[in-house]
């Protein structure tokens, strides 16, 4: 079946079998390998992407179901070539990743959280990433990274004449 998708702001048209998951479509058809295939049945969270701005597991939907939708993958969160998003920066600085397998999904989940909640508590951060498994870091630095990114993004969003 032919479907149209808005991938990281670009209109794309692809031919997929109905049984192709959104994850496989992103990785194999579109070459966006930042969406990681961990378990492929909904338990690890490594395949998380933003679907119309909301974090979802891309292995738990078929690409045909995404017809006409906007999808953001890790490749789409950087502000420009060679740059990193504030969340990505924070992950580097706080050692929020080791092997990096869970990282794209963690970062997208954090972006989704911070878009709705610019000042999350520690408990809210933990809750937000609770569906994403990391086998390396022990999570502490990931939570720290998201808190740091939140703080910076709040600062960056402040209007120019705001008092400190």
């Amino acid at each position: 079946m032919r479907i149209k998708l808005d991938i990281n702001g670009l209109k794309r048209e692809v031919e997929v079998e109905p049984r192709t998951t959104l994850l496989d479509c992103l990785r194999d058809t579109l070459g966006l390998t930042g969406a990681h295939a961990g378990c492929e049945h909904g338990v690890c969270g490594a395949c998380t992407v933003l679907f119309d701005g909301v974090a979802v597991r891309s292995c738990l939907m078929f690409a045909v179901q995404a017809q006409g939708s906007a999808i953001t993958t890790i490749e789409g969160v950087t502000p420009g070539p060679g740059e990193l998003s504030p969340v990505q920066d924070a992950f580097c600085e706080t050692h929020g990743m080791q092997c990096g397998f869970c990282t794209p999904a963690m970062i997208l989940t954090a972006h989704a959280l911070l878009a709705n909640n610019p000042n999350p508590t520690r408990a809210e951060i933990v809750e937000a990433i609770s569906g994403n498994i990391c086998r390396c870091t022990g999570y502490a630095q990931i939570v720290e990274a998201i808190a740091l990114a939140a703080e910076r993004m709040r600062g960056a969003n402040r209007p120019k004449d705001a008092h400190p």
Binding site: M1, R19, G45, R57, C59, M61, E127, G131
Partner: protein
């Protein structure tokens, strides 16, 4: 971990979905897909056709409905769990759902997972099924161009087994509204937060002006083939002050001859013991919440 091939249809309305379902006995309806797609990936499910009802906008709603049975909150089948979780009418009028839903999966699965999908899937550990049975919800469906309904307490008959007629599509659910000094409680035990519960318990209580239980509903999920209402305990506790010792005694008695599920993670004995405990806590929470309320909300 790749699904077997299937045909894909996206009907425009529920009657078209029913017609597609009637035409192929191996077709399956897909709503949020948060269970079905995983089952298909593991090839535990191999439907020949998927009938995708996600875009039938008429099935996405949360609204109050008043009819002969009284006031109810009606929820459309494809309403996302995350929407119910944050809805103001739900928080006010079906607070048990607001309490139970954050325990379903994770935020990313609640973003896709639907109310109707979970109710139709009939997992013994499903928080939505427990809530529906505890609150005497009514399940609505369409088949053959006609609407039908079934009380939740008659709808579930086994693990993943319902009385939904062949060829029918679950279209929505109605949760009766309790007015007055109402409080709710919900507890579950699992290996990790948001995993499948080993045992879950829900309670809703309405206190009279004398502080005694005017109405009480208690349900236990995940412990047996499908969630149970603890009617005998409800009858014993109704009209009383719900003090802990009495509540526990009534629950222990009500759970004495259930046949709990047993697996690697939790023995039957463990499930029974924990069910008593969680239900007691749920009742205590419900009582306290109701006491904190001076008037109808």
């Amino acid at each position: 971990m790749k699904a077997a091939p299937f045909e894909y249809s996206r009907p425009a309305d529920i009657d078209e979905a029913c017609a597609l379902l009637a035409a192929d006995e191996n077709a399956r309806v897909i709503a949020g897909g948060q269970t079905l797609v995983a089952m298909m990936a593991m090839r535990l499910a191999r439907p020949t056709r998927l009938i995708d009802i996600n875009r039938i906008a008429a099935l996405a709603y949360i609204r109050q409905e008043n009819n002969k049975e009284g006031e109810a909150v009606a929820i459309g089948a494809i309403t996302r769990q995350c929407v119910v979780e944050r809805d103001a009418l739900i928080a006010k009028s079906v607070p048990l759902l607001a309490r139970a839903i954050p325990n379903i999966g994770h935020a990313a699965t609640r973003a896709r997972g639907t109310v109707g999908g979970s109710l139709a899937n009939a997992d013994p550990a499903a928080e939505l099924v427990l809530s529906a049975i505890t609150l005497d919800a009514v399940i609505e469906y369409r088949a053959d161009g006609e609407s039908g309904e079934s009380p939740a307490r008659e709808f579930y008959i086994g693990p993943m087994i319902t009385t939904l007629p062949a060829g029918a599509v679950l279209s929505g659910v109605r949760f009766p509204i309790w007015r007055g000094k109402v409080g709710v409680g919900f507890h579950e035990v699992n290996a990790r937060r948001s995993d499948f519960a080993f045992v879950s318990a829900a309670a809703q209580v309405e206190l009279g002006d004398d502080g005694k239980a005017k109405r009480i509903a208690i349900g236990v999920g995940a412990a047996t083939d499908f969630p149970l209402r603890l009617e005998s305990a409800e009858q014993q506790l109704k009209g009383g002050a719900l003090d802990d010792a009495k509540v526990r005694a009534a629950l222990r008695e009500a759970l004495a001859d259930i046949e709990p599920l047993e697996d690697l993670h939790a023995s039957a004995d463990y499930r029974r013991r924990v069910a008593v405990d969680l239900a007691a806590r749920a009742v205590a929470d419900a009582r306290q919440a109701a006491q904190g309320k001076s008037h109808a909300y």
